[in-house]
């Protein structure tokens, strides 16, 4: 098996694995980072969303070989103390129900706020469309994103 090297949450990591293995399973089963969730494995739900070089993408359909040498960020590394504005807003708005989708939701929202200072309802609808929440927490996700956006806006 080849050794594939990349950074995860600013730490250099190496895994011996088939380059076709989805990043999701490498994170969960080889690196013990279980914060990134499996919801479908087909890119349809967003539960597995991580950042690769700052862009949100579903790790279940991202082959390990494609992240060689790149920077991967997972929910565990979004902030040092769990105090990213989105993480705080999520708690203040009591967003999670079962909570299972929320790591992916937050990672997608974080990439959105990193790239755009201004977000509105339509932009949130569009940017979050790949993230399913089976519990139906969308109204609170929207409110939390708007609150965090207001906080980080320059």
């Amino acid at each position: 098996m080849p050794t594939i090297a990349f950074h995860v949450n600013d730490e250099p990591r190496e895994v011996d694995a088939d380059g076709a293995m989805p990043l999701l399973w490498a994170l969960r089963d080889l690196l013990g980072l279980t914060g990134t969730k499996f919801g479908c494995g087909t890119g349809d739900c967003g539960a597995c969303t991580v950042h690769v070089d700052g862009r949100a993408q579903p790790s279940c359909v991202t082959e390990l070989s494609r992240v060689a040498g790149k920077q991967v960020r997972t929910i565990e590394g979004l902030s040092a103390n769990g105090d990213h504005p989105l993480q705080r807003a999520w708690q203040e708005h009591d967003v999670p129900q079962c909570g299972y989708c929320q790591a992916g939701q937050i990672m997608t929202a974080a990439a959105l706020l990193d790239s755009e200072a201004e977000v509105d309802d339509a932009r949130i609808d569009q940017a979050m469309s790949g993230n399913l929440c089976r519990c139906g927490t969308y109204q609170r996700i929207r409110a939390a994103i708007l609150a965090a956006a207001a906080e980080v806006r320059p």
């Binding site: 009591d94 079962c98 790591a103 993230n131 139906g136 969308y138």
Partner: protein, 768 residues
């Protein structure tokens, strides 16, 4: 030594493991909720307060966390318990007796104990109880958790408070009645003395407990925690990725298993390519005979998945080759005959409605992790039935239940699915064959294609109105898909009808003073596995009833809100209908193409009315703008959770009204992903407003309450907007055919469509 000298030491009774997290976030490395779940840190010894049938027990907790000596006293039957331990730093640990599947009981149940114990919420840490008889029935479903635990858990807290007060009073030589409690302290105001619970707990635990029925509970006016919108205790762990779900269990040397499952209902395995599967790097074992298929065990989930693909199993799918959605629809339609409207009615109204199978599709697919060590099993399961998992694993491995410890994890959704324990039995079968530690995972296609579904149903309705618009007769016959049949059918139908509480004709007592209102249910045997889904039969029954009532209102030429108010007999529903209607702005002028609809529901001890504002575009795209909900669930223990349940139910109803359904072709489920089983997304979510009625009545259920009235409210709004009566879900574009769009005149609404097969009919004269 005083209690304060060892701040790490749990003060109650005795210390087991010295360290215990006061706060899962600030816990030292190695001792956080994760290690508690995986058992690396021993649960400490504490004060256990069990309540069984009005009697209260006090017991010591063994280092493994189980209060076995309670059982040793011969306690039998249902016992609802919580254990509370008071630490030297004043922090309190309270066990959540049942699992959390997203409904928030790890927060709301613990609130009950904390309220009566009279501690500050900030001082509370929550632990999850393992599966055990000492906790009584731990399964969750039927929106029964809060209803069954509301009093016992308050009594448990009040009992703890009573012994703490008794201990303080005796130390001071005063009457207990002269003392009060506040924020984890006992106070004697007359002498300005006070003691913390931490200072009292060890001695208090040795005192005789009062009878649970004799302790006084707070009056609602004194509640400081109950009724507050308390945030979920797991929020911080969830948003940082630390929360542990079933799939996150990581015992040492864990291996991963997936199962190649029959591709069609009743398909039989004929062969598979064992060599190819074993040749996949990382594939370790194959286990036959798991749910009719083959389990593949790998070093990683990915290896197991690759192995499953290489297995290329061959199946005989002939058993149900003739089974499809079309044959099922025909069977259901033939399952009940059309009722006729009552004789002598001035106006007769008839209708038929069709509802599809639905999958649960929990966000976290089914999974179970079992570690087998020296004939004992430790099980991590996201489940609604910890004790069912315990039984299933014990049976699957062939060991005693005593040798199985089930640690319920957080669960990524339930909706009824996790009341089954098939995933645990499968994991047990695999671990029995290969030993060690196994995590068995269902993929999303497994989940959608091998669920036990919300049954499909067909409804035939007839009612009559007199000259003044009074309902003079009402019949609702439902044919519902069932895997049971034969001689059992009648008995099952009887049970089924009885379970549709409050709306079945036989039992009467539905919310409307309408003779015959309710449902007569007939099970039609169809080999598609079915099981409970959010709100059980109410999801179908209430859709048909509330859509049909809207038709009756129009036939009576009455406003749908006024018509409901005129016919409702349930006093608790009337103000809710008025409130939901007022909040949506009932009666205001609307743009063409936009309409308002209303529906209501009572069940699970609670009441709700919901109104929807819907806009339909010229090309038949339905957009649900707003839903207002007026809820009477008795005392609102945690309003934030109650709102969340309403929001979630509305989201479910939007998805199942607009898009989601399970269909079959040639005996196989057509949907295999969230691409084909389309659930609602951010852009679909209407704005949801929830009004909760102030009440001190006992709590009602919330998990299912919010679903059954939303789809009919939406479809009634579509009728108001377009004159198109929706009679099947999900809505098809062609069901709105003929709707000319917002530019067409909508006032007065177009008449109901002509009689067509399974479309509603409004006949102007009886018998015509």
């Amino acid at each position: 030594m005083t209690a304060h000298e060892d701040s790490n030491r749990p003060i109650a009774i005795d210390a087991g493991s010295g360290a215990h997290p006061t706060d899962t976030q600030a816990a030292p490395p190695g001792i956080n909720r994760r290690t508690l779940l995986t058992g690396a840190a021993g649960l400490h010894v504490g004060l256990f307060i069990g309540v069984r049938g009005g009697a209260t027990f006090l017991a010591r907790i063994r280092p493994d966390g189980s209060p076995q000596d309670v059982l040793a006293q011969g306690a039998e039957g249902a016992m609802l318990g919580a254990y509370v331990s008071v630490r030297a730093d004043g922090g309190v640990t309270i066990a959540a007796p049942v699992p959390d599947i997203g409904q928030g009981v790890r927060t709301s149940l613990v609130m009950l104990v904390a309220e009566e114990l009279d501690v500050d919420w900030e001082s509370v840490t929550v632990e999850q109880a393992v599966a055990g008889a000492e906790f009584g029935r731990q399964s969750i479903g039927g929106s029964g958790t809060m209803r069954s635990y509301y009093t016992p858990l308050r009594q448990a807290g009040a009992t703890g408070r009573a012994v703490l007060v008794a201990e303080a009073a005796s130390r001071w030589g005063v009457e207990a009645s002269a003392c009060r409690t506040e924020s984890g302290r006992v106070l004697h105001d007359a002498s300005s003395r006070s003691l913390s619970y931490a200072e009292l707990a060890e001695a208090a635990a040795g005192r005789p407990l009062p009878n649970a029925g004799s302790v006084s509970l707070k009056s609602p006016a004194d509640f400081r925690i109950i009724g507050q919108p308390i945030h979920r205790v797991d929020n911080a762990d969830v948003v940082t990725g630390r929360a542990i779900y079933g799939m996150d269990a990581r015992p040492d040397n864990l291996r991963f298993a997936v199962v190649a499952r029959p591709p069609a209902i009743g398909a039989r395995l004929q062969g598979f390519d064992e060599a190819a599967a074993r040749a996949v790097p990382g594939v370790l074992e194959l286990v036959e005979g798991v749910s009719g298929g083959v389990a593949v065990v790998g070093e990683t989930t990915w290896a197991a998945l690759q192995g499953r693909q290489a297995l290329a199993p061959r199946w005989d799918t002939s058993a149900n080759a003739g089974l499809g959605s079309d044959t099922i629809a025909a069977d259901l339609q033939a399952g009940v005959s059309a009722p006729s409207a009552p004789d002598g009615a001035a106006t007769s109204v008839e209708a038929a409605f069709d509802l599809p199978y639905l999958a649960h599709a929990t966000m976290e697919p089914m999974n179970c992790t079992v570690e087998l060590i020296d004939g004992r099993a430790i099980v991590w399961a996201p489940t609604q039935s910890p004790q069912g998992v315990r039984r299933g694993v014990a049976r699957g491995i062939g060991i005693d239940e005593d040798a199985v410890e089930v640690r319920p994890t957080l669960a990524g959704g339930g909706f009824g699915r996790r009341a089954s324990t098939d995933y645990a039995s499968e994991a047990a079968t695999v671990v029995k064959a290969v030993g060690g530690a196994i995590q068995l995972l269902w993929t999303r296609d497994d989940d959608l294609q091998h669920d036990s579904y919300r049954p499909a149903s067909h409804h035939k309705m007839a009612a009559g109105l007199d000259d003044e618009g009074n309902v003079v007769g009402y019949t609702h016959r439902m044919a519902i898909s069932s895997t049971r049949g034969g001689d059992d059918a009648a008995a099952a139908a009887g049970r089924r009808a009885a379970r549709v509480d409050g709306t079945n004709q036989a039992g009467g007592g539905g919310p409307y003073a309408i003779a015959g209102y309710g449902v007569q249910s007939t099970r039609v045997r169809i080999p598609v596995p079915t099981f409970v889904w959010r709100s059980v039969d109410h999801s179908q029954v209430n859709f048909a009833n509330e859509a049909f009532l809207d038709m009756l209102a129009h036939a009576a030429q009455m406003d749908p809100v006024a018509f409901r108010l005129a016919n409702l007999s349930q006093a608790r529903l009337k103000p809710l209908v008025e409130r939901a209607a007022a909040d949506i702005g009932w009666g205001r002028d609307l743009e063409a193409g936009t309409g308002l609809g209303i529906a209501c529901f009572q069940g699970y001890g609670s009441y709700v009315a919901q109104a929807a504002e819907v806009t339909v575009s010229s090309d038949g795209v339905v957009r649900i703008n707003r839903v207002t909900c007026a809820v009477d669930c008795g005392v609102a223990v945690n309003p934030s959770s109650i709102r969340a349940q309403m929001e979630g139910c509305v989201a479910d109803a939007v998805a199942t009204t607009l898009r989601a359904q399970i269909t079959l072709s040639e005996g196989a489920i057509d949907q295999d992903s969230f691409g084909s089983y389309e659930w609602g997304r951010m852009a679909d979510m209407p704005h949801v407003e929830v009004h909760i009625v102030d009440s001190t009545a006992g709590p009602g259920g919330m998990g299912e309450l919010g679903y059954p009235a939303v789809s009919p409210a939406i479809c009634n709004a579509i009728f108001a907007a377009t004159g198109k009566r929706i009679t099947r879900l999900p809505i098809r574009r062609e069901d709105l055919a003929g709707w000319a769009g917002p530019d067409a005149p909508v006032d007065p609404p177009p008449p109901e469509p002509d009689a067509r097969l399974f479309m509603p009919r409004v006949l102007n004269e009886a018998g015509s």
